[in-house]
């Protein structure tokens, strides 16, 4: 694995990808491919579909890197947004979850031993923040983000007015933002094995 670009920022790698540096795309994949795949798998619950979503997202990075605007946000946000959008589009296309129930957003079991320490830390941090949210807000975020449900679908399935769903999403994301900015949530990680 070529890691001579390891010292570059994500944004610099995107700039190099825009100039057709294939090794920059490889480095971005090495940094975010695993998270991207985990996300796609959570949304799609199907390995082949998850691989397709990740591949399409990274090829979109490759094709449109020149249009990425670092002043608008982080490169990692851009990449993971592309992955999420692909996954959600696919799950809606497949309509596979429509026959299923809301618990589809629950997390599939994965052997923790396989995870690397950094990703484990990140995961604990986000999970801790999610646990600090009021239940209704957490439910709205998890079903929308991991389940791929639209706000209208959520309103219908949860039997709530659309306005309530919207404010739960907004309240939940805003609170998550505050929680993730607190240094305390970062130190809540303890080794589990």
């Amino acid at each position: 694995m070529n890691r001579q670009l390891a010292h570059l920022s994500d944004e610099a790698l995107v700039a190099l990808a825009a100039r057709s540096e294939q090794s920059a795309l490889a480095e971005l994949y090495d940094r975010y491919g695993r998270t991207a795949y985990g996300l796609a798998l959570r949304v799609l619950r199907d390995q082949a579909l998850a691989e397709d979503a990740v591949q399409e997202a990274f090829l979109t990075v490759w094709r449109t890197a020149a249009r990425f605007m670092p002043e608008r946000g982080k490169a990692s946000t851009w990449i993971l947004t592309l992955v999420h959008r692909r996954a959600v589009d696919a799950v809606r296309r497949e309509q596979r979850r429509r026959a299923d129930s809301l618990d589809l957003a629950s997390e599939p079991a994965v052997e923790g031993a396989e995870e690397d320490a950094f990703l484990h830390l990140q995961r604990e941090r986000v999970q801790t923040a999610l646990r600090h949210l009021p239940d209704a807000q957490r439910e709205a975020l998890e079903l929308a983000y991991y389940g791929g449900f639209t706000q209208s679908e959520l309103a219908e399935r949860l039997g709530q007015p659309l306005g309530t769903i919207k404010s739960r999403m907004f309240g939940g994301l805003s609170r998550m933002r505050e929680l993730l900015a607190e240094p305390g949530t970062e130190t809540s990680w303890t080794p589990t094995n």
Binding site: Y37, L59, V110, E111, E115, M169, F170
Partner: protein
């Protein structure tokens, strides 16, 4: 429906296609929403780290890189820090835009300098440069279009800096090359120094 209220749902990809489209139209006119969306999108993307991350199959990495390479067969990476003779043929596919990508690694400064020449179907061209330091005082960078069997034609002056995009004056004929030299401020009619960048034939 007030589009301002849709920012969180958009950040979570929880809008129907028509709602998303309407929100994007609104976004182009609302600075406040753009700022809020940037924040909420970052938080939404953080949720990606909140789920288990099993290792993807090895083939996925290879598959992505192969597909990426196949999409840019018309790009020729070069290591070039000295004057080169012409005749480097670029296998340019018949596409609307030819991108000639050049990455130059400068080991002494540990910085990466890259040049990308983008030639449109109308043969107008843009030179995108990153990692090039500003021209010394009293000097300027000058781009040249050098048609085959003809003398260099001035194609524009630029000061350098971390990232520069230079629209070249005139067009770049087939089999021409594009070069960049350092010239006295104000530019020259013909290159007075050796080019430190020369593109493959376009």
């Amino acid at each position: 429906m007030d589009p301002h209220e849709l920012t969180a749902a958009y950040a979570l990809d929880a809008l129907d296609p028509d709602e998303a489209e309407a929100y994007e139209r609104h976004l182009s006119q609302c600075e406040e929403c753009r700022e809020q969306l940037a924040e909420l999108s970052e938080t939404a993307a953080a949720l990606a780290f909140g789920t288990a991350a099993p290792a993807p199959p090895e083939r996925l990495r290879a598959s992505i890189l192969e597909a990426a390479a196949a999409e840019r067969t018309n790009v020729m990476p070069l290591l070039r820090r000295r004057w080169v003779t012409r005749g480097l043929a670029v296998a340019a596919a018949a596409v609307a835009c030819i991108v000639v990508g050049l990455a130059v690694s400068l080991s002494q400064s540990n910085k990466t300098r890259s040049f990308t020449l983008v030639i449109g179907s109308d043969r107008t061209a843009k030179l995108q440069i990153s990692g090039l330091s500003a021209a010394p005082s009293g000097k300027t960078y000058e781009a040249w279009v050098i048609p085959a069997h003809s003398s260099p034609r001035p194609a524009g002056l630029f000061p350098g800096g971390s990232s520069t995009s230079v629209r070249l004056r005139g067009t770049v004929p087939r089999n021409a090359v594009v070069a960049v030299t350092v010239e006295p401020a104000g530019g020259s009619n013909l290159p007075t120094t050796k080019p430190f960048f020369v593109s493959p034939t376009a």
